[in-house]
Symmetry: C2
Subunit: 163 residues, 2 copies
Amino acid sequence: MGGEGRAVGGAWAPRLAAVDDADELGRLLHDFNTEFATPTPGPDVLADRLRTLLAGPATFALLAGSPAVGFALVTLRPNVWYAGPVALLDELYVVPPLRGRGVGSSLIEALVAAALRRGVALIEVNVDEPDVDAARFYARHGFRGGDAEAGDRAFYLSRELGG
Amino acid sequence: MGGEGRAVGGAWAPRLAAVDDADELGRLLHDFNTEFATPTPGPDVLADRLRTLLAGPATFALLAGSPAVGFALVTLRPNVWYAGPVALLDELYVVPPLRGRGVGSSLIEALVAAALRRGVALIEVNVDEPDVDAARFYARHGFRGGDAEAGDRAFYLSRELGG
Protein backbone atom coordinates (compact mmCIF):
# COMPACT_ATOMS: atom_id res chain seq x y z
CA MET A 1 0.00 0.00 0.00
CA GLY A 2 3.09 2.23 -0.20
CA GLY A 3 1.79 4.02 -3.27
CA GLU A 4 -1.54 5.16 -1.80
CA GLY A 5 -2.15 8.83 -2.38
CA ARG A 6 0.87 9.49 -4.55
CA ALA A 7 -0.77 8.68 -7.89
CA VAL A 8 -1.03 12.23 -9.20
CA GLY A 9 0.68 15.52 -8.49
CA GLY A 10 -0.49 19.12 -8.20
CA ALA A 11 -1.74 21.37 -5.46
CA TRP A 12 -4.80 19.19 -4.80
CA ALA A 13 -3.10 15.82 -5.19
CA PRO A 14 -5.60 13.19 -3.98
CA ARG A 15 -4.77 11.02 -1.02
CA LEU A 16 -6.54 7.99 0.41
CA ALA A 17 -8.94 8.99 3.19
CA ALA A 18 -8.28 7.62 6.67
CA VAL A 19 -10.92 6.96 9.33
CA ASP A 20 -9.90 10.28 10.88
CA ASP A 21 -11.07 12.04 7.71
CA ALA A 22 -14.67 10.97 8.35
CA ASP A 23 -15.73 14.35 9.76
CA GLU A 24 -14.34 16.33 6.84
CA LEU A 25 -15.76 13.88 4.31
CA GLY A 26 -19.14 13.92 6.05
CA ARG A 27 -19.28 17.71 5.77
CA LEU A 28 -18.40 17.60 2.06
CA LEU A 29 -21.02 14.91 1.38
CA HIS A 30 -23.60 17.02 3.18
CA ASP A 31 -22.59 20.09 1.14
CA PHE A 32 -22.80 18.02 -2.04
CA ASN A 33 -26.39 16.93 -1.43
CA THR A 34 -27.38 20.36 -0.16
CA GLU A 35 -26.08 21.96 -3.37
CA PHE A 36 -28.19 19.59 -5.46
CA ALA A 37 -31.26 19.84 -3.18
CA THR A 38 -31.06 16.14 -2.32
CA PRO A 39 -32.04 14.94 1.17
CA THR A 40 -29.16 14.34 3.59
CA PRO A 41 -29.18 12.93 7.11
CA GLY A 42 -26.73 15.69 8.12
CA PRO A 43 -22.93 15.84 8.42
CA ASP A 44 -22.79 14.13 11.82
CA VAL A 45 -24.75 11.04 10.79
CA LEU A 46 -22.70 10.82 7.60
CA ALA A 47 -19.45 11.14 9.55
CA ASP A 48 -20.55 8.38 11.95
CA ARG A 49 -21.35 6.05 9.07
CA LEU A 50 -18.08 6.92 7.34
CA ARG A 51 -16.09 6.08 10.47
CA THR A 52 -17.50 2.56 10.25
CA LEU A 53 -17.34 2.24 6.48
CA LEU A 54 -13.80 3.57 6.01
CA ALA A 55 -12.56 1.11 8.65
CA GLY A 56 -14.03 -1.80 6.67
CA PRO A 57 -12.91 -3.51 3.46
CA ALA A 58 -15.76 -2.45 1.16
CA THR A 59 -15.45 1.35 1.17
CA PHE A 60 -12.64 3.74 0.37
CA ALA A 61 -12.44 7.44 -0.42
CA LEU A 62 -9.96 9.83 -1.99
CA LEU A 63 -9.62 13.41 -0.81
CA ALA A 64 -8.16 16.19 -2.96
CA GLY A 65 -6.31 18.93 -1.07
CA SER A 66 -6.03 19.77 2.60
CA PRO A 67 -8.47 21.10 3.59
CA ALA A 68 -10.25 18.95 1.02
CA VAL A 69 -11.76 20.65 -2.03
CA GLY A 70 -13.11 17.45 -3.54
CA PHE A 71 -13.54 13.75 -2.97
CA ALA A 72 -14.37 10.41 -4.55
CA LEU A 73 -16.33 7.85 -2.52
CA VAL A 74 -16.10 4.27 -3.71
CA THR A 75 -17.64 0.95 -2.64
CA LEU A 76 -16.47 -2.52 -3.57
CA ARG A 77 -18.56 -5.65 -3.97
CA PRO A 78 -17.91 -9.15 -5.28
CA ASN A 79 -19.07 -10.11 -8.77
CA VAL A 80 -19.22 -13.59 -10.25
CA TRP A 81 -17.91 -12.46 -13.65
CA TYR A 82 -14.60 -11.22 -12.24
CA ALA A 83 -11.98 -12.79 -10.00
CA GLY A 84 -11.64 -9.54 -8.05
CA PRO A 85 -14.15 -7.00 -6.75
CA VAL A 86 -16.12 -4.48 -8.81
CA ALA A 87 -15.85 -0.82 -7.75
CA LEU A 88 -18.75 1.62 -7.85
CA LEU A 89 -17.96 5.33 -7.78
CA ASP A 90 -20.79 6.38 -5.48
CA GLU A 91 -19.98 10.08 -5.35
CA LEU A 92 -17.52 12.47 -6.96
CA TYR A 93 -17.55 16.07 -5.81
CA VAL A 94 -15.47 19.20 -6.28
CA VAL A 95 -16.35 22.42 -4.47
CA PRO A 96 -17.93 24.95 -6.87
CA PRO A 97 -15.10 27.56 -6.98
CA LEU A 98 -12.54 24.97 -8.08
CA ARG A 99 -14.45 23.19 -10.83
CA GLY A 100 -12.95 22.98 -14.31
CA ARG A 101 -9.40 22.94 -12.98
CA GLY A 102 -8.64 19.23 -13.19
CA VAL A 103 -9.43 18.24 -9.61
CA GLY A 104 -12.08 15.76 -10.77
CA SER A 105 -9.72 14.26 -13.33
CA SER A 106 -6.98 13.82 -10.74
CA LEU A 107 -9.52 12.10 -8.46
CA ILE A 108 -10.42 9.69 -11.29
CA GLU A 109 -6.74 8.93 -11.91
CA ALA A 110 -6.21 8.29 -8.21
CA LEU A 111 -9.35 6.14 -8.11
CA VAL A 112 -8.10 3.98 -10.99
CA ALA A 113 -4.73 3.53 -9.27
CA ALA A 114 -6.37 2.66 -5.94
CA ALA A 115 -8.76 0.26 -7.69
CA LEU A 116 -5.93 -1.52 -9.52
CA ARG A 117 -4.10 -2.00 -6.20
CA ARG A 118 -7.23 -3.78 -4.93
CA GLY A 119 -7.49 -6.13 -7.93
CA VAL A 120 -10.51 -4.32 -9.37
CA ALA A 121 -11.23 -5.07 -13.03
CA LEU A 122 -14.31 -2.88 -13.50
CA ILE A 123 -15.28 0.59 -12.23
CA GLU A 124 -18.92 1.62 -12.50
CA VAL A 125 -20.76 4.92 -12.12
CA ASN A 126 -24.40 5.99 -12.48
CA VAL A 127 -25.19 9.36 -14.03
CA ASP A 128 -28.52 11.17 -14.12
CA GLU A 129 -29.62 11.84 -17.69
CA PRO A 130 -29.88 15.67 -17.30
CA ASP A 131 -26.29 15.83 -16.04
CA VAL A 132 -24.70 16.02 -19.48
CA ASP A 133 -21.51 17.60 -18.12
CA ALA A 134 -20.95 14.55 -15.92
CA ALA A 135 -21.69 12.21 -18.85
CA ARG A 136 -19.08 14.01 -20.95
CA PHE A 137 -16.58 13.94 -18.09
CA TYR A 138 -16.92 10.17 -17.64
CA ALA A 139 -16.82 9.51 -21.39
CA ARG A 140 -13.55 11.44 -21.52
CA HIS A 141 -12.24 9.18 -18.78
CA GLY A 142 -13.06 5.96 -20.62
CA PHE A 143 -16.48 5.13 -19.18
CA ARG A 144 -18.95 3.55 -21.62
CA GLY A 145 -22.58 2.42 -21.71
CA GLY A 146 -23.96 -1.11 -21.66
CA ASP A 147 -22.61 -2.43 -24.93
CA ALA A 148 -19.75 -0.24 -26.10
CA GLU A 149 -19.33 -2.08 -29.43
CA ALA A 150 -22.96 -1.61 -30.44
CA GLY A 151 -23.04 1.92 -29.03
CA ASP A 152 -25.96 0.97 -26.81
CA ARG A 153 -26.61 2.68 -23.53
CA ALA A 154 -27.67 1.08 -20.25
CA PHE A 155 -30.10 2.40 -17.69
CA TYR A 156 -29.74 2.44 -13.94
CA LEU A 157 -32.98 1.62 -12.11
CA SER A 158 -33.72 1.37 -8.42
CA ARG A 159 -36.54 0.56 -6.04
CA GLU A 160 -36.73 1.84 -2.48
CA LEU A 161 -38.03 -0.65 0.08
CA GLY A 162 -40.22 -0.12 3.08
CA GLY A 163 -40.02 3.27 4.67
CA MET B 1 -33.95 -16.56 8.94
CA GLY B 2 -36.85 -18.99 9.33
CA GLY B 3 -38.72 -17.43 6.46
CA GLU B 4 -36.02 -17.85 3.83
CA GLY B 5 -37.38 -19.37 0.66
CA ARG B 6 -41.02 -19.45 1.72
CA ALA B 7 -41.93 -15.99 0.45
CA VAL B 8 -43.99 -17.08 -2.55
CA GLY B 9 -45.84 -20.20 -3.55
CA GLY B 10 -46.28 -22.10 -6.81
CA ALA B 11 -44.47 -24.90 -8.60
CA TRP B 12 -41.28 -22.88 -8.95
CA ALA B 13 -41.34 -21.20 -5.54
CA PRO B 14 -37.93 -19.53 -5.08
CA ARG B 15 -35.66 -20.63 -2.29
CA LEU B 16 -32.43 -19.13 -1.00
CA ALA B 17 -29.41 -20.78 -2.66
CA ALA B 18 -26.99 -22.66 -0.42
CA VAL B 19 -23.28 -23.13 -1.08
CA ASP B 20 -24.15 -26.62 -2.38
CA ASP B 21 -26.20 -24.99 -5.15
CA ALA B 22 -23.06 -23.41 -6.65
CA ASP B 23 -22.71 -26.05 -9.40
CA GLU B 24 -26.32 -25.72 -10.56
CA LEU B 25 -26.17 -21.92 -10.40
CA GLY B 26 -22.85 -21.88 -12.27
CA ARG B 27 -24.41 -23.92 -15.09
CA LEU B 28 -27.41 -21.57 -15.31
CA LEU B 29 -25.17 -18.48 -15.34
CA HIS B 30 -23.12 -20.03 -18.11
CA ASP B 31 -26.30 -20.83 -20.09
CA PHE B 32 -27.51 -17.26 -19.53
CA ASN B 33 -24.41 -15.68 -21.04
CA THR B 34 -24.22 -18.26 -23.82
CA GLU B 35 -27.81 -17.46 -24.82
CA PHE B 36 -26.96 -13.77 -25.08
CA ALA B 37 -23.57 -14.35 -26.77
CA THR B 38 -21.72 -12.81 -23.83
CA PRO B 39 -18.29 -14.17 -22.81
CA THR B 40 -18.29 -16.61 -19.88
CA PRO B 41 -15.37 -18.21 -18.05
CA GLY B 42 -17.31 -21.51 -18.10
CA PRO B 43 -19.59 -23.25 -15.60
CA ASP B 44 -16.75 -24.70 -13.48
CA VAL B 45 -15.01 -21.36 -12.87
CA LEU B 46 -18.38 -19.75 -12.09
CA ALA B 47 -19.26 -22.56 -9.67
CA ASP B 48 -15.91 -22.18 -7.91
CA ARG B 49 -16.45 -18.44 -7.49
CA LEU B 50 -20.02 -18.99 -6.31
CA ARG B 51 -18.89 -21.46 -3.65
CA THR B 52 -16.78 -18.65 -2.17
CA LEU B 53 -19.29 -15.85 -2.75
CA LEU B 54 -22.37 -17.68 -1.42
CA ALA B 55 -20.45 -18.54 1.77
CA GLY B 56 -19.74 -14.82 2.35
CA PRO B 57 -21.96 -11.98 3.54
CA ALA B 58 -22.09 -9.89 0.35
CA THR B 59 -23.72 -12.30 -2.13
CA PHE B 60 -26.95 -14.24 -2.13
CA ALA B 61 -29.01 -15.98 -4.76
CA LEU B 62 -32.53 -17.25 -5.17
CA LEU B 63 -33.33 -20.38 -7.18
CA ALA B 64 -36.76 -21.08 -8.67
CA GLY B 65 -37.71 -24.75 -8.89
CA SER B 66 -35.74 -27.96 -8.43
CA PRO B 67 -34.04 -28.51 -10.77
CA ALA B 68 -33.81 -24.75 -11.05
CA VAL B 69 -35.53 -23.05 -13.99
CA GLY B 70 -34.47 -19.54 -12.99
CA PHE B 71 -32.42 -17.56 -10.55
CA ALA B 72 -31.67 -14.13 -9.14
CA LEU B 73 -28.08 -13.29 -8.17
CA VAL B 74 -27.67 -10.38 -5.78
CA THR B 75 -24.71 -8.55 -4.21
CA LEU B 76 -24.76 -6.24 -1.22
CA ARG B 77 -22.51 -3.29 -0.50
CA PRO B 78 -22.46 -0.52 2.08
CA ASN B 79 -23.69 2.95 1.15
CA VAL B 80 -23.27 6.13 3.14
CA TRP B 81 -26.81 7.36 2.41
CA TYR B 82 -28.45 4.37 4.10
CA ALA B 83 -28.01 2.74 7.49
CA GLY B 84 -28.18 -0.71 5.89
CA PRO B 85 -26.67 -2.21 2.73
CA VAL B 86 -27.76 -1.52 -0.84
CA ALA B 87 -28.60 -4.56 -2.99
CA LEU B 88 -27.75 -4.85 -6.67
CA LEU B 89 -29.62 -7.44 -8.74
CA ASP B 90 -26.67 -8.60 -10.83
CA GLU B 91 -28.51 -11.23 -12.84
CA LEU B 92 -32.07 -12.47 -13.27
CA TYR B 93 -32.65 -15.44 -15.53
CA VAL B 94 -35.47 -17.78 -16.46
CA VAL B 95 -34.93 -20.65 -18.89
CA PRO B 96 -36.48 -19.87 -22.29
CA PRO B 97 -39.35 -22.45 -22.26
CA LEU B 98 -40.74 -21.09 -18.99
CA ARG B 99 -40.69 -17.35 -19.67
CA GLY B 100 -43.87 -15.35 -19.36
CA ARG B 101 -45.25 -17.62 -16.62
CA GLY B 102 -44.47 -15.53 -13.56
CA VAL B 103 -41.19 -17.15 -12.54
CA GLY B 104 -39.32 -13.84 -12.85
CA SER B 105 -41.98 -12.04 -10.83
CA SER B 106 -41.83 -14.63 -8.06
CA LEU B 107 -38.03 -14.24 -8.00
CA ILE B 108 -38.42 -10.46 -7.60
CA GLU B 109 -40.91 -10.95 -4.75
CA ALA B 110 -38.52 -13.38 -3.05
CA LEU B 111 -35.64 -10.96 -3.62
CA VAL B 112 -37.55 -8.12 -1.96
CA ALA B 113 -38.38 -10.34 1.03
CA ALA B 114 -34.76 -11.54 1.35
CA ALA B 115 -33.49 -7.95 1.01
CA LEU B 116 -35.86 -6.68 3.71
CA ARG B 117 -34.62 -9.42 6.07
CA ARG B 118 -31.08 -8.04 5.54
CA GLY B 119 -32.05 -4.45 6.29
CA VAL B 120 -31.77 -3.35 2.65
CA ALA B 121 -33.48 -0.04 1.83
CA LEU B 122 -32.65 0.14 -1.89
CA ILE B 123 -32.51 -2.47 -4.67
CA GLU B 124 -30.76 -1.53 -7.91
CA VAL B 125 -30.58 -3.08 -11.36
CA ASN B 126 -28.90 -2.07 -14.62
CA VAL B 127 -30.73 -2.71 -17.89
CA ASP B 128 -29.34 -2.47 -21.42
CA GLU B 129 -31.28 0.06 -23.47
CA PRO B 130 -32.32 -2.41 -26.24
CA ASP B 131 -33.80 -4.77 -23.66
CA VAL B 132 -37.21 -3.08 -23.56
CA ASP B 133 -38.94 -6.19 -22.19
CA ALA B 134 -36.65 -6.12 -19.15
CA ALA B 135 -37.24 -2.38 -18.71
CA ARG B 136 -41.02 -2.96 -18.73
CA PHE B 137 -40.66 -5.89 -16.32
CA TYR B 138 -38.71 -3.81 -13.80
CA ALA B 139 -41.03 -0.81 -14.16
CA ARG B 140 -43.94 -3.13 -13.37
CA HIS B 141 -42.09 -4.19 -10.24
CA GLY B 142 -41.58 -0.64 -8.99
CA PHE B 143 -38.11 0.15 -10.33
CA ARG B 144 -37.59 3.74 -11.47
CA GLY B 145 -34.88 5.89 -13.10
CA GLY B 146 -32.63 8.47 -11.53
CA ASP B 147 -35.21 11.05 -10.49
CA ALA B 148 -38.64 9.46 -10.37
CA GLU B 149 -40.44 12.75 -9.62
CA ALA B 150 -38.96 14.55 -12.61
CA GLY B 151 -39.32 11.48 -14.81
CA ASP B 152 -35.62 11.60 -15.57
CA ARG B 153 -33.63 8.52 -16.41
CA ALA B 154 -30.16 7.59 -15.23
CA PHE B 155 -27.39 5.91 -17.16
CA TYR B 156 -25.13 3.10 -16.05
CA LEU B 157 -21.52 3.54 -17.21
CA SER B 158 -18.46 1.39 -16.65
CA ARG B 159 -14.77 1.26 -17.40
CA GLU B 160 -12.75 -1.96 -17.57
CA LEU B 161 -9.26 -1.75 -16.07
CA GLY B 162 -6.07 -3.37 -17.20
CA GLY B 163 -6.25 -6.23 -19.60
